[in-house]
């Protein structure tokens, strides 16, 4: 058959059978599910989002989820649509059953993939039957449990309505009943094989006695406590060759009616997977991946929240924000995570961050970008409370202090890059500039930085400017000064704060030691 014709028929069929449930999506609220960007945006790496994605998408290659991360949403309604689903999934009862469903779907795909490589007809059909058994029971149990839980999100409610419709359809019901009857008949068959030199026989089982028990006693002496149980290992699927195929053929001859039913069943149901169910499974991976990722961090006592988003004014704030990738990297150790607040009021647009080298300035800038990026994906963001801006693009320039052979050439490149950013930026853009010009002279750096800051605030864009130059901290009423600081008054505090205040140039060695738990008293406590 022509493949074009096939897919045409399939579409038509699904339109008819789903009665208006044409397209169920939990990622896109409107019918504009198409994705604009087919390449990752430039800022992902500077924000360390690439690290986050690597972890989330590990072992999820088959779902092709990268584009979901590459395309930030521009519509608040769509963002809240996803936020609602995230909230539903924080319900442990819903989550548990969603996870079971996703696990089953993966197993089904594994079975179907395996079937492609099998040679023996009844072997294939047997595995299709297994896949169908998992499919029907998994979908039924999901439907039942979602109905009990009553999801609040628009997305999952749509899915539930569809599931109820689907599981009551005659096609699904007969699929389930026939599969179960067939499986029962097949598993009741018991037979004997007699192996002789050069030939074998197959006959019905007639009550012969077990010999293995006798054998066991002989080797009892060799038993070793820690050895593996090979019995379990070898029961895994190993495929069939022409000899075991022959045996199966003989068994089929001993039970002709049962196997005729299997043939019929296969013809009727071999394409049993529903398209909406498959899409639901794929889209869930985005939510599960992200929630899985942040659960390690939550276990450390850190909070996530659902940000509100503003599109017009730029009065944004966050409380208790932190760097997602950093928090993940330290989710299994004792290293404390910096929590930071920021807030912009009235005309304020740009945060100038100064302070000591080890103060977490870069982390702060990165966090600012991450919060906005994650919010635009509809994800819960690292922090207790947040109001963020719905941006159109993020421009980053993070200084990489590598060996520089040609200083002049590098400076020229940097300025050229920032020029390009400014040319394509809009008032809805965000700038994150981290220690740029640190490799040039101080006078040059001050001059260039001022020029650039003024251009960004004239554009009315938002931004964070990290610098070692205290002189930049108060150059406009559109900029605010934040300083990487620790509180020497409070020895128990082990986190750097980036706080809103004028820059100061204190030395920090002992405070740093305290932060790392390395004062005399702290070490005395720490070593048992």
């Amino acid at each position: 058959m022509l493949s074009g014709m096939e897919s045409f028929n399939e579409n038509k069929g699904s339109n008819k059978s789903t009665l208006g449930y044409n397209y169920i999506s939990i990622l896109y609220c409107a019918n504009n599910g198409e994705l604009k960007s087919i390449t990752p945006p430039d800022f992902l790496q500077d924000l360390n989002i690439d690290q986050v994605m690597d972890v989330i998408l590990k072992d999820k290659g088959e779902y092709n989820l990268e584009p979901v991360f590459w395309n930030t949403l521009q519509d608040r309604n769509c963002i809240y649509y996803r936020q609602e689903i995230f909230k539903d999934l924080e319900n442990t009862y819903i989550m548990e059953h969603i996870k079971n469903f996703v696990h089953d779907m993966k197993l089904i795909r594994d079975y179907l993939e395996m079937v492609k490589h099998l040679d023996i007809d009844y072997n294939k059909k047997g595995w299709i039957l297994e896949a169908i058994l998992i499919y029907t029971s998994s979908i039924l149990s999901l439907t039942k449990n979602l109905s009990t839980a009553i999801p609040k999100s628009r997305g999952l409610s749509n899915v539930l309505r569809y599931l109820i419709y689907y599981t009551q359809s005659p096609k699904f019901l007969s699929l389930k009943t026939e599969a179960e009857i067939l499986k029962k008949e097949l598993s009741q068959i018991k037979y004997c094989i007699i192996f002789e030199g050069g030939r074998f026989k197959v006959k019905p089982y007639e009550g012969e006695e077990d010999y293995t028990e006798e054998l066991k006693k002989i080797f009892e002496k060799f038993r070793h406590v820690e050895t593996k149980d090979y019995h379990k290992l070898v029961e895994k699927h190993i495929g069939m060759n022409h000899i075991s195929g022959k045996i199966l053929e003989f068994v089929a001859k001993l039970h002709p009616q049962t196997f005729a039913r299997l043939d019929e069943f296969y013809i009727n149901y071999k394409d049993f997977m529903d398209q909406n169910i498959q899409r639901f499974d794929r889209e869930l991976q985005f939510y599960l991946g992200y929630l899985d990722y942040i659960s390690n961090i939550k276990d450390k006592g850190l909070s996530f929240c659902y940000p509100r988003l503003t599109t017009k004014d730029k009065e944004i704030f966050v409380r208790g924000g932190f760097d997602l990738a950093l928090a993940y990297a330290h989710s299994n150790d004792q290293v404390p995570i910096v929590l930071n607040d920021f807030s912009l009021k009235g005309p304020e647009r740009m945060i100038i961050v100064t302070g000591p080298n080890q103060g977490g300035k870069t982390t702060f800038a990165r966090m600012f970008g991450q919060l906005h990026y994650l919010a635009s994906l509809g994800c819960p963001v690292p922090g207790r409370e947040a109001l963020l801006f719905l941006f159109d693009n993020i421009f980053t320039h993070f200084e990489k202090r590598e060996e520089i052979s040609n200083l002049r050439g590098k400076l020229e490149d940097d300025i050229y890059r920032i020029y390009n950013m400014l040319s394509s930026a809009t008032p809805k853009s965000i700038f994150l500039l981290n220690e740029i010009f640190s490799s040039t002279t101080v006078q040059d750096a001050i001059f260039l930085s001022k020029e650039i800051i003024h251009r960004i605030i004239n554009l009315d864009a938002l931004g964070v400017f990290v610098t070692f130059l205290d002189e930049l901290a108060s150059i406009s009423d559109k900029t605010i000064s934040m300083v990487a600081l620790i509180d020497p008054e409070d020895p128990t505090s082990r986190t750097f704060k980036i706080v809103r205040q004028a820059p100061n140039g204190l030395a920090y060695a002992l405070s740093l030691a305290r932060k790392h738990g390395l004062t005399y008293e702290q070490i005395m406590e720490r070593i048992p």
């Binding site: 047997g126 074998f200 008293e521």
Partner: protein, 510 residues
């Protein structure tokens, strides 16, 4: 069943592969351990691993250390026999590899497991006989508790009767007379629950029963030239033997484990012998150290040298003499390239070697046992520019504080010098005082005069002060002498040496 421990005085077999401590990489790098391990391994990855694990898992029980020292002395006296024993475990491995035995269990069918298991038992049997012969011939040449017990256990457990019985069962397991099994249909209609039923010799009735009953029976006869089919058929026959295969597989794994343990334990002593022979060639001295209980703080050495340095240079190197001192703080100051780092390394390596039961690179060495060796060395370069250098040092220190426990040993090499001297000293002093309070032994190489001077002035913890020797003409001896910290270091000497000309303003520098 049969415990042959050559590493521990008690008979309970210990797991042969312990995990390396979390700081193993840093420690190895700072101490230059790799050179030592390579000398022990002589290119053999397995020996490298054994040496690495044994050196990294410090023994804190004096009787275990003495037990190993005695075994090692026996090995040095009879290297040929030890190597012969080691060869037996190697032969097992070789046979296993050659026969493609026991490669992957997860995808193997029961028939493979049964036949592989049987063949592995067969190979084992021959080697067990060999092991027995060597034991019988040589048991009287050895004096250590460990090796005497080793040989007598073999002679007792692997008796003639036992080995013959072993042989009989291997034969029986080839089921030469055909096999009757029952089965059911599992997932994918693949046969499951294969159960071996009573074979012909056990109940003669069933064969006749089939011939004369009306039970429907289908027969498949292979074409005589269908070799592939015949092979599959013989495998299928064994498939009925899943549970039997399981029993054999477990027995085979036990023996695999037995020979691997043998190889691991002997591997450690083979590594020591390799090292011994190399040191003998360059006429470098070794001795068995004298370990003291954890709380008896002591340190003394005569001719203690950096064994890795000696191995690299392939000649004897200068050692240090430190007369007995019972402080747990040793502060080392003095000019650059005066042998301070080398000394720190030699102390760290000597502890690892002593506490694995080895000899040490010294004429004599005596120290209390420690629960762990830690290093905090100046890093060559800032590995992550995001992190300030000083912060990075603090982080490493904090990690050490998480891992170290009472009676540990820590070696500092120019730590906390990445901030200014006053602050660096203050941070260091607090850290050192807390560590000493926790009975941790501290060796601290530093240029920070304020730090050294603080302990010199206060005499807290009665520290021992060592200084890299520098002769009046500026020449270094690479030896440490006892002496108070001086205000200047001698970086300028190195500058001179490298630039090979006098500075224009020589006077200013002096």
């Amino acid at each position: 069943m049969i415990a042959l421990s050559l590493l521990f005085p008690d008979k309970d077999p210990k797991p042969i592969k312990i995990h390396l401590p979390p700081h193993a990489n840093i420690l190895a790098q700072d101490l230059g351990l790799d050179v030592l391990l390579k000398a022990m391994a002589l290119g053999d990855d397995f020996l490298y691993q054994v040496a690495q694990h044994t050196l990294m898992s410090l023994q804190t029980d004096i009787s275990t250390i003495i037990f190993r020292q005695d075994v090692l002395q026996d090995c040095i006296n009879n290297p040929g026999i030890i190597k012969e024993l080691y060869q037996i475990s190697m032969k097992f491995l070789e046979q296993k590899r050659k026969g493609w035995l026991w490669i992957s269990h997860t995808h193997a069918s029961p028939s493979f497991i049964l036949s592989d298991g049987r063949r592995l038992l067969d190979v084992s049997l021959a080697l067990l006989w060999e092991l027995r012969e060597i034991s019988q011939k040589n048991i009287n040449n050895f004096t250590s508790q460990g090796l005497k017990r080793f040989f007598s256990t073999i002679l007792r457990e692997l008796s003639h009767e036992y080995l013959n019985e072993f042989k009989y069962h291997i034969k029986k397991l080839s089921f030469p007379q055909g096999v009757l099994v029952s089965a059911q249909l599992g997932k994918g209609n693949e046969g499951i629950n294969y159960t071996l039923l009573k074979p012909r010799e056990e109940s003669r009735g069933w064969f006749k029963h089939i011939l004369f009953s009306k039970t429907p029976t289908y027969t498949y006869k292979l074409h005589p030239r269908d070799e592939a089919g015949a092979r599959i058929l013989s495998e299928l026959r064994n498939q009925g033997l899943t549970r039997a295969a399981n029993i054999v597989a477990q027995a085979a794994e036990y023996l695999d484990n037995f020979f691997n343990t043998l190889r691991w334990e002997l591997g450690f002593y083979i590594g020591c012998l390799n090292l011994y022979e190399q040191l003998k060639k360059i006429d470098a001295c070794i001795s068995f150290p004298r370990p003291l209980p954890k709380d008896e703080f002591t340190f003394s050495c005569k001719g203690l040298y950096d064994i890795s340095l000696a191995l690299i240079k392939n000649k004897r190197v200068i050692g240090n003499n430190i007369s007995p001192h019972n402080s747990s703080l040793i502060i080392i100051t003095g000019p650059n390239q005066g042998g301070k780092t080398t000394f720190l390394r030699s102390v760290g390596l000597a502890h690892l070697m002593m506490q694995s039961g080895m000899f040490v690179p010294a004429v004599s060495f005596c120290s209390n046992l420690v629960t762990g060796v830690f290093t905090h060395f100046k890093q060559q370069e800032d590995r992550d520019m995001e992190m300030g250098k000083f912060k990075e040092e603090l982080q490493r220190m904090s990690t050490i504080v998480d891992q170290i426990s009472q009676n540990g040993l820590i070696l500092f090499n120019e730590s906390f010098a990445s901030t200014n001297e006053r602050e660096g000293s203050e941070v260091s002093i607090q850290i050192i005082r807390a560590l000493l309070q926790k009975k941790i032994k501290v060796f601290y190489v530093t240029h920070m005069y304020e730090l050294a001077h603080y302990f010199y002035k206060t005499r807290d913890y009665n520290p021992l002060f060592l200084r890299a020797q520098r002769l009046p003409n500026g020449e270094r001896t690479y030896r440490l002498i006892q002496g108070e910290p001086l205000r200047t270091s001698y970086g300028i000497d190195i500058f001179r040496k490298i630039f090979k000309r006098k500075l224009l303003n020589d006077l200013v520098c002096n």
